[in-house]
């Protein structure tokens, strides 16, 4: 590759604390702008307006303890956030409110993130970590994938509460995992220098498909883009790595942050050209990248799509 890796499209500053989690919300109609939720180590949740690139609202509900999971439900009006004060809060953000309407106490004191599955309109299923869980993720409907501190990934059947399969794929704790329910395969990162891709066969067995050896140890987060084309990892070595999802081909190393990258997240914007990648880091910055989404000839495109009259 002759081309040098790109620079971030822009960088969001002002959290004044380490950024632990990111969540895009782009579902709104045209007058609505895409927003990004970020949770940081000082317990604040920032709601970023990606059009003005500024903070719209700051939510404070975790008593100064770091927030490590946020997710919007029901449009942008409801938000779930999980903090290390062992609380999962439900926020009401509609019409400019910002109040905690409900909260759940979790037993877990680790860094495991919760996971959410939309069962039907208005119904969600949330998996939240118990005492020893590490990283849960949903597969298809009744299944739950969870990564554990002993380096294993376990597939649970929720209806029966049974372990379907267990795969010990890492020597170190699993830091993060993501699953592609179309191709029935997932990826997990741990604190060692290996990225593992495993697959789920018809018999609901997990099998290691491929491992990728990294130069520097520690993957804090993995994310597969919604179109299942690329995979991004957040590295402890300050770098974001981009892989092709199909063959785990390394595509790019995005080098911007000056400290550990804690999280990566892809936006699900309706226009592919505006899909972004965000990464939050220990250096208090959130970098926004526009990569592999074919943006070229912007001027001419925009002019030609309008009919002259």
């Amino acid at each position: 590759m002759a081309l040098p890796p790109p620079d971030p499209q822009f960088v969001l500053r002002g959290t004044s604390a380490e950024v632990h989690t990111l969540h895009f919300y782009c579902g709104g109609q045209e007058p609505d702008y895409p927003i990004l939720f970020s949770g940081s180590s000082n317990g604040l949740i920032h709601v970023w307006n990606l059009k003005t690139r500024r903070v719209d609202t700051i939510l404070d509900g975790h008593g100064g303890k770091s927030v490590y999971w946020v997710e919007a439900i029901n449009g942008r009006d409801r938000l779930l956030s999980q903090g290390s004060n062992q609380q999962i809060c439900l926020w009401d953000l509609a019409e400019g409110r910002n109040t905690v309407t409900d909260s759940v106490f979790t037993e877990n004191v680790g860094f495991c993130k919760s996971s959410l599955l939309k069962v039907a309109q208005g119904h969600w299923l949330m998996a939240m970590p118990g005492k020893d869980l590490d990283e849960p993720d949903f597969g298809s409907c009744p299944f739950l994938l969870a990564g554990y501190e002993d380096g294993s990934v376990i597939l649970w059947n929720l209806s029966g509460g049974k372990i379907l399969s267990r795969l010990g794929c890492h020597q170190e704790p699993v830091m993060s995992l993501d699953f592609d329910s179309e191709k029935k395969k997932g990826v997990s990162g741990s604190s060692e220098e290996v990225l593992t891709v495993w697959s789920l066969d018809e018999q609901q067995n997990l099998k290691v498909q491929k491992t990728h050896k990294l130069v520097n140890a520690g993957i804090a987060d993995v994310a597969i883009r919604q179109d299942k084309k690329i995979l991004a990892t957040a590295g402890w070595d300050h770098r974001i790595r981009i892989f092709g999802w199909k063959k785990l081909k390394p595509l790019a190393i995005l080098n911007y942050h000056t400290a550990t990258v804690h999280c990566v997240s892809f936006s699900d914007h309706s226009r592919p050209s505006e899909r972004l990648l965000a990464a939050g880091s220990k250096d208090h910055r959130i970098s926004i990248w526009s990569i592999y989404n074919q943006t070229s000839g912007a001027l001419h495109c925009s002019l030609e799509t309008r009919k002259p009259d």
Binding site: D7, F10, K51, R54, H284, L299, L303, R306, D309
Partner: protein, 1117 residues
């Protein structure tokens, strides 16, 4: 005179006179009749009208030659009768009409007027006019029957002949006026019967027969000799359009059908009658258009404004009434009208405007396809000819050509899209605009460098700056600012009516096509957008659909993307870019299209070969202008979008600020103007607010650009501009990025140091400005006060005047002991107090990474410390320039840090070796600067540096001073301009303070005194003597007694008697010496010393009578 009211009485009186006249036709009788008429009332006269007229008409009708005098009086008499009565019978009217006409005609040829006296002609014409006015009611219409056509024709031709051929102005005017009455268009005050439609049509039909004659004759009159006077021309023009409007009125022509029944008249007459069918209209219009063309040519340039005014009215009437029938002339007429919009007479101007507006409102153009075609054809031919005309015409001519273009555009209104939709036409129009707008880039002044001093004014909110006041541009083809304004309007009108996407797309294409077009295309684009938003555009009718803000925003966003694209934004604008933009420039020359031979020669000659590796002045000028125009564009867009521009700030503000820090004066000025525009648009009241409120965008841009080697200078420039324009509240925001800068500097010590040093020096200067000068204003003063008081308390007054007593001596010793105790025991306590006072108010944002220091440093101090660390390394840079700059930065750092001694001192320790090297063996310039730093450092660090100074530097300094002294003593006046002199001066000026601040020991002070003594010599340049004296003055402060002694060793003016016999007599080295070269200075110093001491002594006396004369201590000690 009695008035006879009843007809009977009147008849009685008038009968004899009438009879007499009938019998003998003489002038006297006619006059007699006229006299009698005065006595008759109007009503009676009306009754007797025919009776009285009879003899008069009889007189006219009698065959044979008549005396003109008689005819004239008869006609006058008739006129007077008719003016008070009215003609009620149509026979009488017709007869009178023809009789009067006959008076004018020559008996030989009927068609030509008789060679009569001018008075008579005038009288007859007036009589005719009166006759027409006296016709009662409908009677007048009987004159306008097909049957009377010959009579009418006769009268018309006579009058035309008079109007055309007569010499006398009055007759001409009267004839024209009469004709006007004849075509029923009299504009006099009297009440006229208004014709209904049918009647008008009849008249129209009738006059159609005369139209050729009338129009030809009148056009001859109009285009005749200018000497005939403007009134004749004016009324001829009026008559012309009235006639034409009567005959060619669209309204009438529309109602005329093919087979209208022929009026039943005899054969001969019916031949004269014209049927106004389409064919006739067509051929007449053709002929008329020739005449109109002639008239337009002549009158639109007529020197008298009233003529031009009437001509404008002519256009108005034609457009109003005959725009369809005369469609072929409309182009001409409009062209002339548009040309007159900029007439020198304001009346004509405003009338033109008014008429243009009314024409536009009539929507004749918009709805009339033919007219639109004509106009667009006009437009195109004009566009084609424009470049040629621009080359050949003078400014006046160019002005009228362009106003013509503008006028056509305005009239076309929305129809302009017909032209724009054709690719070829659009091409032609755009090329014309682009060629006209070609800039003159030969001016050397453009590349002028900005002076950094003038930069300070930028921070002020220059709210008075008006929008649209860009830099004055110099064009190749014109100089007049007015012309530029016209072109501006043309572009705006285009943007207003035209299809914005089409236009923007086209001009963007041109922008990208060639570097030759780029500037002009950008200029046009800027104006197009302004016009599209409907700002600053003067139009005749409103467009139906305005461009929506969303569309505008989209368009502007894409234009801005193009403007701020690397290839268009980073251009070589100066030779001295420190090699940083080399790689960029090379890239650009490939990106930019090289002009091919296809362009016109004028363009080629001005184009710079962009493949040329070394930029010429011309190409740099061109680049500078391009950037300026783009910057102005940004300002325009901000103005257009108003508050909406906020969203674009994220991408635009950084590039603009980058240019605000540009080294070219023109660019930085323009960029500042743009920022002011943005402030206005987005509602910020100052540039400072703008920067503060959007610093997150800027910081983002800076930190991203710092990552790219080639853009680092730009990024640091933006940071510089930010710092320059903002205040302390910015610091928390930029803190982050300053770290980036420092780490970037760490990466590129070797090649980029100088570009980063600029930003570092701005940074620390800003820190000093914000935190030391601003906040700590009180501290230094307090400090000084305390120091002064403390030093003054140590000082003792010299009281040689007062003879001390034993008691006093005892007291003195007691005090001496006490004071030395104070000096040892209490001073640290005092310092602590000082420290407390100096400690800055707790900063809200403490730096977390204050690991090195025991107490966390406030952010600004931490930054200064970090910068200082870098400086240590850079102090030994290869380049002298860098070293000098570093020394500057260092000085600022020291000032910022001086409140945090426990950080400053370790830093001073680290800096010391490098600084010493600069002081000892470096270029004199660097030594000079380094010495200044040393002074500042000494001032802030105090005696921390004492030992180092006396060990590392003092010997060298003293040595060099001593070594240099003989040179300066011998030197001539030129010496004061040399570097050596400046160095000497600086050292001498600083040394005193250094001694004081560092609290040097006795031996060091002696060294200093020894070295400086030579400079007290009268042989030295005056300035050096002064400086040397200042050293001694400082020494006096430190140790007055030692100094006193030292000086007295050189020269002692007074003998000192011991105050008590038990004391030994005083012997001083300088006693009884001859006057030497040092005497003057030493004496003045001693005098100063004494004055100081006395002052302190007296001040002390007022408080408590403690201090004693110090000279005694010396004498005793």
């Amino acid at each position: 005179m009695a008035v006879f009211d009843t007809p009977q009485e009147a008849f009685r009186i008038l009968r004899p006179v009438c009879v007499q006249l009938t019998k003998v036709q003489t002038t006297e009788n006619v006059e007699c009749l006229q006299a009698q008429l005065q006595t008759v009332s109007d009503s009676a006269l009306q009754e007797l009208q025919e009776y009285i007229l009879f003899p008069l008409r009889f007189t006219l009708k009698t065959p044979g030659p008549k005396r003109e005098r008689l005819v004239q009086s008869v006609v006058q008499c008739i006129t007077s009768i008719l003016s008070t009565t009215c003609v009620k019978k149509q026979d009488l009217l017709q007869e009178l009409f023809s009789e009067l006409c006959l008076c004018l005609s020559s008996p030989s040829g009927l068609q030509s007027p008789a060679p009569l006296s001018e008075e008579l002609k005038l009288t007859v014409i007036q009589a005719l006019q009166v006759l027409m006015h006296s016709a009662y009611g409908d009677i007048i219409l009987t004159l306008y029957q097909p049957s009377t056509l010959p009579h009418l024709g006769f009268a018309v031709s006579l009058l035309l002949a008079l109007a055309e051929q007569e010499k006398a102005k009055q007759i001409k005017l009267a004839a024209l006026k009469c004709l006007q009455v004849l075509i029923l268009q009299c504009d006099c005050q009297e009440h006229h019967r208004l014709l209904d439609t049918v009647e008008t049509r009849q008249c129209g039909n009738l006059f159609a027969s005369f139209l050729p004659g009338i129009s030809t004759a009148l056009s001859r009159v109009i285009t005749g000799d200018i000497k005939q006077g403007h009134r004749v021309t004016v009324s001829a023009i009026r008559l012309f359009y009235q006639t034409v409007c009567l005959v060619m009125a669209d309204e009438q022509l529309a109602t005329i059908t093919q087979d209208e029944e022929k009026p039943s008249v005899e054969q001969r007459v019916s031949e004269l009658v014209v049927h106004r069918g389409p064919d006739w209209v067509k051929s007449t219009a053709d002929k008329l258009s020739l005449l109109i063309h002639k008239i337009v040519e002549f009158t639109s340039l007529h020197p008298h404004w009233k003529v031009r005014m009437e001509f404008v009215e002519l256009v108005h009437q034609f457009m109003l009434k005959c725009s369809q029938s005369l469609v072929e002339s409309v182009g001409h007429l409009l062209k002339a009208l548009v040309g007159l919009v900029n007439d020198e007479s304001s009346e004509v101007q405003s009338k033109c405007h008014e008429i243009l507006r009314s024409i536009a409102e009539l929507r004749t153009v918009v709805e009339n396809r033919a007219l639109a075609d004509i106009l667009s054809e006009n437009l195109l031919s004009l566009a084609t000819a424009l470049p040629r005309l621009m080359n050949s015409q003078d400014d006046q001519g160019k002005f009228s050509t362009l106003s013509l273009l503008l006028g056509s555009l305005k009239l076309l209104g929305p129809k302009v899209n017909i032209v724009l939709n054709s690719a070829a036409h659009l091409q032609r129009l755009s090329k014309a605009l682009i060629q006209v707008l070609e800039l003159d880039v030969a001016d050397v002044k453009t590349v002028r460098e900005r002076l950094w001093d003038s930069e300070d004014s930028l921070g002020e909110p220059s709210g008075s700056l008006q929008h649209g006041k860009g830099q004055k541009k110099y064009f190749r083809f014109f100089f007049d600012e007015q012309i530029f304004l016209l072109i501006q309007q043309i572009c705006r009108v285009l943007g207003y009516y035209g299809n914005l996407y089409l236009l923007v797309d086209h001009f963007m294409g041109l922008y990208n096509e060639s570097v030759v077009y780029r500037k002009q295309a950008a200029m046009v684009l800027n104006e197009l957008i302004t016009g599209a938003a409907g700002l600053g555009v003067d139009v005749l009718h409103k467009r139906e659909t305005a461009v929506s803000t969303e569309d505008l925003k989209g368009t502007i966003t894409s234009i801005l993307e193009e403007y701020t694209d690397q290839a268009n934004w980073y251009l070589t604008t100066s030779i001295d870019t420190e090699g940083t933009s080399d790689e960029l420039t090379v890239k650009h020359s490939r990106v930019r299209a090289i002009p091919r031979g296809a362009h016109s020669s004028s363009l080629i000659s001005s184009s710079s070969p962009s493949s040329d590796p070394s930029p010429t002045i011309r190409s740099m000028n061109s680049n500078i202008w391009q950037i300026c125009i783009q910057l102005e564009g940004v300002g325009c867009f901000a103005y257009v979008l108003g508050k909406e521009f906020h969203l674009l700030l994220a991408s635009v503000l950084y590039p603009v600020l980058e240019k605000a820090g540009d080294s070219s004066l023109l660019i930085s000025q323009t960029a500042t103007g743009t920022m002011v525009d943005i402030c206005h648009a987005c509602g910020y009241d100052s540039v400072q607010n703008l920067i503060n409120a959007n610093s997150d965008y800027l910081v983002n841009g800076i930190s991203l650009n710092l990552r790219r080697v080639a853009h680092q200078p730009h990024a640091s420039r933006v940071l510089e501009a930010m710092l320059r324009h903002s205040d302390a509240s910015l610091l928390p925001l930029v803190e982050d990025v300053i770290r980036d800068v420092l780490s970037a500097l760490d990466q590129f010590y070797d090649d980029r140091a100088s570009s980063f040093l600029g930003v570092l020096s701005t940074l620390v200067a800003a820190l000093v400005q914000w935190f030391i000068v601003g906040k700590g204003k009180e501290h230094p003063q307090e400090q000084n006060l305390e120091q002064q008081s403390s030093t003054s308390s140590q000082k003792q007054g010299e009281g040689s005047v007062i003879i001390p007593m034993v008691q006093e001596m005892e007291q003195f010793f007691l005090d001496y002991i006490k004071q030395s105790q104070i000096a040892e025991g209490n001073l640290p306590a005092m310092e602590e107090e000082e420290e407390e006072v100096q400690a800055p108010p707790a900063e809200p944002e403490m730096n977390d990474s204050g690991a090195e220091g025991e107490t966390p440093l406030p952010a600004h101090a931490q930054i200064a410390k970090d910068v200082m660390e870098r400086c240590i390394h850079l102090l030994s840079d290869k380049s002298l320039r860098v070293r000098l700059k570093v020394l500057d930065v260092l000085e600022f750092c020291v000032i910022v840090l001086h409140l945090h001694e426990n950080h400053l001192l370790p830093m001073a320790h680290c800096v010391w070796p490098a600084l010493v090297t600069r002081l000892i063996n470096d270029d004199p310039l660097a030594v000079l600067r380094a010495f200044k730093v040393l002074c500042t450092l000494a001032e802030k660090c105090g005696d921390f540096l004492k030992r180092r100074f006396s060990k590392d530097i003092l010997p060298k300094l003293a040595g060099s001073l001593v070594a240099q002294a003989p040179v300066s003593a011998r030197a001539g006046p030129v010496y004061s301009h040399t570097l050596a002199f400046k160095l000497q001066l600086a050292v001498l000026q600083g040394l005193g303070l250094l001694c004081e601040k560092l609290d040097l020991g006795e031996s060091d002070l002696n060294k200093v005194a020894d070295a400086c003594l030579i400079y007290l010599s009268a042989k030295q340049p005056v300035k050096l003597q002064e400086a040397a004296r200042s050293v001694f003055l400082h020494l006096m402060c430190v140790d007055p007694d030692a100094t006193w002694l030292f000086l007295n060793e050189i020269c002692c003016p007074l003998p000192y008697e011991p105050p008590h016999p038990s004391l030994q007599p005083v012997k001083l080295g300088g006693m009884g010496r001859q006057r030497t070269e040092f005497t003057d200075n030493v004496l003045s110093l001693l005098g100063e010393l004494q004055r100081q001491e006395t002052a302190t002594f007296q001040a002390g006396l007022q408080e408590a009578p403690e201090p004693q004369p110090p000279s005694l201590t010396e004498a005793l000690g």
